[in-house]
Subunit: 436 residues, 2 copies
């Protein structure tokens, strides 16, 4: 029986109260993080100085379920959770597909993306531990914004090192971070030794994520009252994001339906992992018949890379993680879905990809097909996806079109991880919206 | 008993299924719209050619409750209704006020504002009547965006005449309207006789709302398959917006609380009316003890104007409506909360103001205090209000501060009618966020 309603949501009291940790359920053992054999000081030894203790504990936890602290539940409710699951009836009709399409609305968040789910948790744990400040780096800017927000509502200072090349032109995002009270520095900055060396040579140095990470790390290491945070890749980040998929499971119960296949975009993996991993758990432990497809760009198809130990950053400052990687020094051409440009995928998702549990599709760098499908979604369902989220939307629509050809009544689920109100420029450039 | 939860929401099935029409419950008779005595053709006679029949029927309906058509209910659900009511516990704590603050989250909408509530209804009625196109004008751009969205999902063409002075610099909003598929013209445009006369003289004419309205009206009058729409002021617009207040009433029941005083910004009145009128109805028919305050700018404090017959537009093309007005030819200085710059208030709200049921506060044109209070809200509750919505937020915070002085445990409700992701520029200018 198919419920024809367009929106499914659970009562506020039914928001999941635990995150799901897939580590104990993985099909093979999770490879430990290691130090490279380069004679330099141990990166592993630095971890406790860098991350909140609770986050580090979660990183390697063997518990399948981890309680969400009640203050974080309050923050989730304040941030508007639960977020509805929508049946995309209008899109289905437009496509003339026998498939049933459902999408999760993570764009309905204070800063407009799913990033807040882990930003709030990480800020809470830092505060609880007596920290006064968080440092981080940001590339596209979504993570910096989410952390600026989380630190404001939790009551922490935050220092963001932002790749100068992006800092320079994303004015509105900079204004928003500062509106929240964040201390934002174009990187390389004169604030750290790593940054100053480059800044002194050229104050207009465009910077890179590598340098920004170095600055964030150095800043946190030098301040006992500061911790460093990451917005993707690591296990505890994926853990916090499972709130997305756990909610989605309850909402599918209300819809009296269950996905055959799930799509979402994947850069480092926090959105893809958060959305799919609770369902992946059901496949692994209950034998559910469900597929997972990561939507990527051809400029950074890390899920098609090599499964090998690599650094998480370009400069080799992190421990080595076993991941699907293109190589930490790979140069990637710019695209408007900038948040997808990362050389490696989350170790958890990488293991699952290596074991054959995740498929992947990569779209051409001109982004035309991706943004055209995003427009189809916009004009039928009404919501404006972020350029990154557009990749997941696109892949789901492509699948629905295939179902039209084959006649399959497949249930397709996708996550719209963020909105694009601050990213119209890319859509305009690619689709020529305002060209006379 | 006060529930300490931070979010209150009703199940999807409990979204109100009727709009509330206050006309039969008004304390004095509603003054009819009239033609001016200027020898020109009747404006009243044009109304049936301009507006969808159902909207015109609603404009003067004597039914207290008007069924929301089931397809509009579907559209409301697709657009994410119901939208939560939040208890602003963090803001209360920051203020140290004994008041209890609640806010409604209309910013959680596909285009980011409450405007979609009437845009969807008006687009539906036009489509149902066999129309193929809608024309309208827009100033700040929120209404044009909402209508572009509504026409996309309902399946209608839409032509937007946009005051050139704004069209020129709000690039992202223009891109978004076009992404939805809207036909957007900087006004005065060469598309209409009214526009062409001015355009031919100066293709860079900055235009005005008056001229844009003339263009929208002329365009609709000359096309049998087109209707004209308005995003505020008129009774049927306020009617559609009552979904906000009706939902809020049910959510207050869940909170086991009831507002003593309600605040929201008021330009033409669609947001203020939609939020407060269901509560106003309870005051009028059930003797509820509740106050209402409209937050405005000193550049356009129409609720402090004269209660008199006036035109709805600057050029005198509409019938005359009895309204609180500053005079339809008044020039108003620019502010960043541009949507509040309108010379007259909704006739319904004007009558209620005249009869003493609505109070008003007007803030200085520098917007500093307003935006500072918006920042306080942002940093405690996490959400980014639109510059217009910031006025209602500001007035609620000022009241909460007064309660701190008097010790009153007042229940304060306000509506955050839209988000500011596309309006960071104004906040930056006024507060100097990115000034080095």
């Amino acid at each position: 029986m198919v419920n024809k309603s367009v929106q499914f949501n659970i009562p506020i009291d039914d928001i999941p109260k635990q995150w799901y940790n897939i580590l104990p359920d993985l099909p093979t053992e999770f490879p430990p993080y290691i130090d490279p054999d380069d004679g330099k000081p141990s990166r592993l030894a630095n971890l406790p100085k860098l991350f909140a203790g609770e986050c580090l504990k979660q990183e390697f936890s063997e518990d399948s379920w981890i309680d969400i602290p009640e203050p974080v539940m309050d923050l989730y409710r304040q941030a508007g959770r639960p977020r509805p699951l929508f049946r995309a009836l209008a899109l289905e009709e437009k496509l003339g597909t026998p498939a049933r399409l459902y999408y999760k609305s993570e764009f309905y968040s204070p800063t407009g993306s799913h990033k807040v789910n882990t930003a709030l948790a990480q800020a809470y744990y830092a505060k609880q531990q007596g920290m006064e400040r968080i440092t981080t780096e940001t590339g596209a800017g979504q993570w910096g914004t989410a952390l600026a927000y989380a630190c404001a509502v939790v009551g922490l200072d935050v220092t963001v090192y932002w790749v100068r090349a992006v800092h320079r032109w994303k004015k509105e995002r900079l204004q928003l971070m500062k509106f929240y009270g964040a201390d934002v520095h174009a990187s390389p900055s004169p604030m750290t030794a790593a940054g100053k060396a480059l800044y002194d040579k050229d104050p207009d140095d465009p910077g890179s994520l590598a340098i920004a990470i170095s600055e964030g790390l150095e800043d946190a290491l030098n301040d006992e009252k500061a911790v460093y945070t990451l917005g993707s890749v690591l296990n505890h980040v994926i853990l916090h994001q499972t709130i997305i998929g756990l909610e989605t499971q309850k909402q599918f119960e209300l819809a009296d339906d269950y996905p055959d296949i799930m799509f979402s975009c994947l850069g480092g993996g926090s959105n893809f992992g958060g959305f799919t991993i609770p369902f992946m758990g059901e496949r692994l432990t209950k034998g559910k018949d469900i597929k997972f497809v990561a939507a990527q760009s051809e400029v950074s198809p890390n899920m098609q890379g090599e499964y090998a130990y690599d650094f998480g950053d370009h400069a080799g400052l992190t421990p080595m993680l076993k991941m699907m990687t293109l190589g930490h020094e790979t140069r990637m051409e710019p695209i408007y879905g900038d948040g997808l440009r990362y050389h490696g995928a989350s170790p958890i998702l990488s293991l699952l990809r290596h074991e054959g549990y995740i498929d992947t599709v990569a779209y051409p760098k001109d982004e035309k097909h991706v943004f055209q499908n995003a427009q189809l979604f916009l004009r039928t369902e009404g919501f404006l996806p972020a350029p990154e989220s557009a990749y997941g939307v696109c892949a789901a629509i492509d699948e629905a079109k295939r179902c039209k050809e084959t006649g399959e009544e497949k249930v397709i689920a996708f996550n719209v991880s963020g909105h694009g109100f601050m990213d119209m420029y890319g859509y305009d450039k690619v689709l020529g919206l305002t060209k006379e």
